[in-house]
């Protein structure tokens, strides 16, 4: 196709899938938060950035990448829970844009704080042992770490689905997404569910940041583009739907990967064209419920 060997195309698909996996993690977190709290988290990329930094610190302290990733998710979930509890909770029931504006303030202040603490130079997170380099499989060069990200994200997403569909807490979260007042009336402390949901959502962003860190290295401003890109993903997939976030993330991953192959200078613009096309053809997004937005 276009004079490019099929092996290269397959490799590009794998690159796109790995990038898409990161988008899937971020966008599903964004969707969960929006579904529960009706808040668009403008600081989503900031939590992704914090995840990458937490992974850097925990990895260099413990010496193990896996401890680093786990610690990063836990630390950022705690930061997220505190943010929700102290900063967002006072704003519920007011004009719906105030929580959104607050997360925006967070997204302005925190990256600058990280610049003050860690400097502008990127912090490199080493690839975990055994996942360095690539192997050749049927003539296709497969980077091991990218393959790992794809598989790991698939596992996380299956676990997330099982959690939401099968566990009691997951059931409550789904119910609160539909009608939190009713859930509250039935005797569930919805306030705590919101905190949990926010923590879960930013935890997924942090996981994305921690997994992405070896590929891109952690810098304070890495979150900005990620926030915007995860917005594009959920607009394409349909806001509030985890399934839509997954499909949207995979589509955008492939779009970025192939546009950078064929027209490199358009790689950052193409996703917005994709979004504009979806908005014209199917305004609610691929999986979005009609009438909700």
């Amino acid at each position: 196709m276009f004079g490019i060997p099929v092996e290269v195309l397959i490799m590009q698909v794998i690159f796109g899938l790995a990038l898409g996996a990161i988008y899937v993690l971020l966008a599903s977190g964004l969707s969960i938060i929006f579904g529960l709290l009706d808040v668009i988290n403008f600081a989503h990329g900031t939590f992704y950035m914090l995840g990458a930094y937490a992974a850097f610190m925990a990895t260099s302290l413990s010496g193990s990448f896996w401890v680093g990733v786990a610690a990063s998710v836990v630390i950022v979930m705690l930061i997220g829970a505190m943010t929700e509890y102290f900063l967002l909770k006072p704003l519920y029931g007011e004009w719906p844009f105030y929580p959104l504006l607050l997360t925006f303030g967070f997204a302005v202040a925190v990256p600058d704080l990280m610049k003050a603490l860690f400097g502008l130079i990127g912090k490199v997170v080493e690839y975990p042992e055994g996942l360095v380099g690539a192997f050749i499989w049927g003539g296709v060069l497969v980077p091991k770490y990218r393959l790992f990200i794809i598989i790991f994200t698939a596992v996380v997403m299956i676990a997330l689905f099982l959690f939401l569909k099968r566990s009691d807490l997951g059931m409550i979260i789904r119910a609160a997404t539909r009608d939190s007042l009713m859930v509250n009336v039935l005797g569930v402390n919805t306030s705590r569910i919101w905190t949990t949901g926010f923590a879960l959502g930013v935890g997924l962003a942090a996981l994305g940041g921690a997994l992405h860190a070896p590929m891109v290295s952690a810098i304070p401003d890495m979150g900005v583009e990620m926030t915007v890109e995860s917005f594009v993903v959920v607009v394409i997939g349909g806001l509030g739907s985890v399934g839509g976030a997954i499909l949207g993330g995979l589509i955008i991953g492939q779009v970025v990967s192939f546009v950078s192959l064929f027209a490199g200078e358009y790689s950052q613009v193409a996703i917005f064209f994709a979004m504009a096309v979806i908005l014209m053809v199917r305004p609610r997004g691929l999986f979005g419920e009609a009438g909700r937005l």
């Binding site: 844009f97 303030g105 302005v108 915007v228 917005f272 504009a276």
Partner: protein, 322 residues
């Protein structure tokens, strides 16, 4: 809102114009010029935020495109200063109409996200694919020395004449904006902000009203962008970046979005603070981000709104409408 009392409203606008007329004699002239350009930008933005209740995180698109198109007109087409500003305003209206056609029917939060995404799209367009015309990362440079030929000759290369040129355009724009917002259309916008469903039920076309609100907002924002080109003599690519959208959001809320003159106060205080704080520490974003969060948590009505609540208004209703 000031509008119910036209006499009071004219006093507000007159006071603002007098304050702007003396501003360059109080603070440094370049800072004063920047302030009144942002006054226009923030007040144009507030047509959408404060008056219609819609939030856009992509207003850098209109400001930046206004800057670039004024720059293109001056640099590549040898246009006059007036013509370049007309270009800027026209492109702002057109782009707002295009984005509005795609996104204005969306619920508010969705619109906020889509506006941010389109804003970033224009930034990346200027950064890489259109580098040949925009100058990419370096911005649009080598705009010829500016002068105004009509209605009288004015050399726009010294600070004070630029200031009064900008002041003239901003003053006209603010009066036009006042006329728009004081009309039945303006009242319809504020009614939509208060209760969209009810206005729809009354038989008004809410979508079209929001659409025109966005277009007006885009025109004034782009005009502010064009003035920035006249002021700076070049166009930095950051004028399209999301931080520009964020800045205008913060200015508007700092001043008070539910008052006509609030965004102007916000823009002035914001830039004055920025100028002063940056002399002491270079971590302006931490300062402004934290300040903004405190504002949202404690002083949602901004400077003007809070002052009116404390001192001005006699009834709580007036205070809320401020």
């Amino acid at each position: 809102m000031d509008f119910l009392n036209r006499h009071k409203g004219l006093k507000v606008i007159g006071g603002a114009l007098v304050a702007m007329a003396v501003l360059p004699h109080v603070i440094s002239v370049p800072l004063a010029t920047e302030i009144i350009i942002y006054v226009l930008f923030a007040m144009g933005f507030n047509i959408l935020l404060g008056h219609t209740g819609l939030i856009s995180f992509g207003h850098a698109a209109y400001f930046g495109l206004g800057s670039y198109f004024a720059g293109f007109a001056l640099r590549y087409f040898d246009a006059s200063v007036w013509m370049s500003l007309l270009w800027a305003a026209a492109i702002g209206g057109l782009v707002a109409a295009a984005i509005g056609a795609l996104a204005i029917r969306k619920k508010g939060v969705y619109f906020a996200m889509i506006s941010l995404a389109f804003g970033q799209m224009f930034y990346f367009m200027a950064l890489s694919p259109l580098k040949k015309w925009t100058g990419g990362e370096d911005g649009l440079k080598f705009i010829p020395k500016l002068k105004m030929n009509y209605p009288f000759y004015l050399d726009l290369s010294d600070h004070i004449s630029i200031y009064y040129f900008v002041f003239f355009v901003v003053a006209l724009s603010l009066i036009a904006m006042w006329r728009i917002l004081d009309s039945p259309f303006g009242r319809q916008l504020r009614a939509i902000r208060e209760n969209e469903d009810r206005i729809q039920a009354c038989g008004y076309n809410v979508t079209m009203a929001k659409f025109y609100s966005l277009v007006f907002s885009g025109i004034f924002s782009a005009l502010a962008g064009g003035l920035m080109t006249v002021n700076l003599g070049y166009v930095p690519v950051t004028s399209l970046y999301w931080t520009m959208s964020g800045t205008v959001v913060m200015m508007t809320i700092l001043g008070g979005m539910h008052s006509f003159i609030g965004p102007a106060v916000g823009a002035a205080v914001f830039l004055f603070l920025q100028d002063s704080v940056m002399k002491i520490i270079d971590r302006w974003e931490i300062f402004v981000g934290v300040m903004f969060m405190v504002l949202i948590l404690l002083f949602r009505e901004g400077i003007v709104g809070t002052l009116q609540q404390r001192f001005g208004a006699r009834t709580s209703q007036e205070a809320a409408e401020g």
